[in-house]
């Protein structure tokens, strides 16, 4: 059912996005040094490195949780669960798996596609993807925390909790209104 992509996506350590940000950051750092002097430069560097360092244990924990969940939770089982629940419970389960399942777009979209094949409706699939995007823990731990710190991220996630369900309900309303035709085959 699910396309064979059980191996997790190997993220490259460096890519064009990172190179672009690195180039902009270097220019910014040079102009800070030139404009405000060494002391201010070191103050900024110090505070950013501190934030980065404080978050590293969480990033490592996030990576390990992600790799263990990938190994322990068969994707076929997840697809079966989501595909066979309907109603509001179906949306809740889809949101829960969006939160739990680790990985990047290469692993998530095939799972979402499998939900459709297993009989899930568009609302559940929408809820799953929005949940993975907005409240998924791997993304929050690995990416958001080092940039924004714990308080901000926790606060943002609590406020985002209802959004995946809301998106799923909206999707069902739109489908019911006849603006989109549901197809079971992707």
């Amino acid at each position: 059912m699910i396309k064979p992509a059980p191996k997790r996506r190997r993220r490259r350590a460096f890519d064009w996005s990172t190179a672009a940000i690195a180039a902009i950051a270097l220019c910014a750092a040079a102009s800070v040094y030139w404009r405000d002097g060494r002391e201010h430069f070191l103050a900024i560097l110090g505070s950013d490195l501190t934030l980065f360092g404080e978050m590293l244990p969480k990033v490592l924990a996030g990576c390990l949780i992600g790799s263990f969940v990938t190994l322990l939770l068969p994707r076929e089982m997840v697809a079966h669960w989501v595909g066979h629940e309907s109603g509001f419970l179906g949306l809740l389960i889809a949101a829960l798996f969006g939160f739990i399942l680790p990985g990047g777009p290469i692993t998530i979209y095939p799972v979402a596609g499998a939900f459709l094949v297993m009989g899930a409706d568009a609302g559940a699939v929408v809820t799953f993807i929005v949940s993975w995007t907005l409240i998924g823990y791997t993304r929050a731990l690995v990416w958001e925390l080092p940039f924004f710190g714990s308080d901000f991220v926790l606060w943002r996630i609590i406020e985002a909790l209802p959004l995946p369900i809301l998106a799923g309900i909206l999707a069902r309303i739109v489908v019911k209104a006849g603006y989109f035709h549901e197809k079971t085959e992707p």
Binding site: S67, T133, A167
Partner: protein, 164 residues
């Protein structure tokens, strides 16, 4: 607070490692290895972004950022941030670096939340590179369409709740 989160996370790691070990030594080793490799590969990207965003924030014109995206910019600022998020190209390093730089140089938290929510949900570049090739097209457009109001709702919730 930070310590509590760390302890909770590592308890989860330990629990999962134990569960994996019960399935056999190979699964435990594979989990530890995959997770560590992922971590090491991510480090340079996150490091560049986090350290870079501090310097970028310092050279951004603070008055201008505060004017357009500051806490007093209200829903206009949220709209600008949402459009900015939708148009931001590139991977997570780009989106998070810009969001963090904006926050550090005077943008309001609800506006930054709107930016990162819009970027995460319907950045055009990501929809086209990732979602469209891998999902049925009608689901992609349905998801993008119902996601349109979400950055505004997230920002409104952030305004009502206030910062911790």
């Amino acid at each position: 607070m930070i310590l509590a989160i760390n302890i909770l996370l590592w308890v989860v790691v330990a629990g999962l490692a134990l569960l994996a070990a019960m399935h056999g030594r190979i699964l435990l080793n594979e989990g530890l290895r995959e997770g560590s490799i992922e971590f090491i590969r991510l480090l340079p990207r996150i490091g560049v972004g986090v350290v870079g965003s501090g310097f970028i924030a310092d050279v951004l014109p603070n008055a201008l950022v505060a004017d357009w995206l500051g806490p007093d910019s209200g829903m206009t600022g949220v709209l600008i941030a949402t459009i900015g998020g939708a148009l931001t190209p590139g991977g997570p390093v780009v989106g998070f670096s810009i969001g963090a730089a904006a926050l550090k140089s005077g943008a309001g938290a609800p506006q930054v939340i709107a930016y990162s929510t819009a970027w995460a949900l319907y950045a055009v570049h990501r929809l086209v590179t990732w979602e469209v090739p891998m999902m049925p097209a009608h689901i992609v457009w349905l998801r993008a369409a119902v996601s349109l109001p979400l950055p505004f709702i997230a920002a409104a919730a952030a305004m009502l709740a206030g910062r911790p």
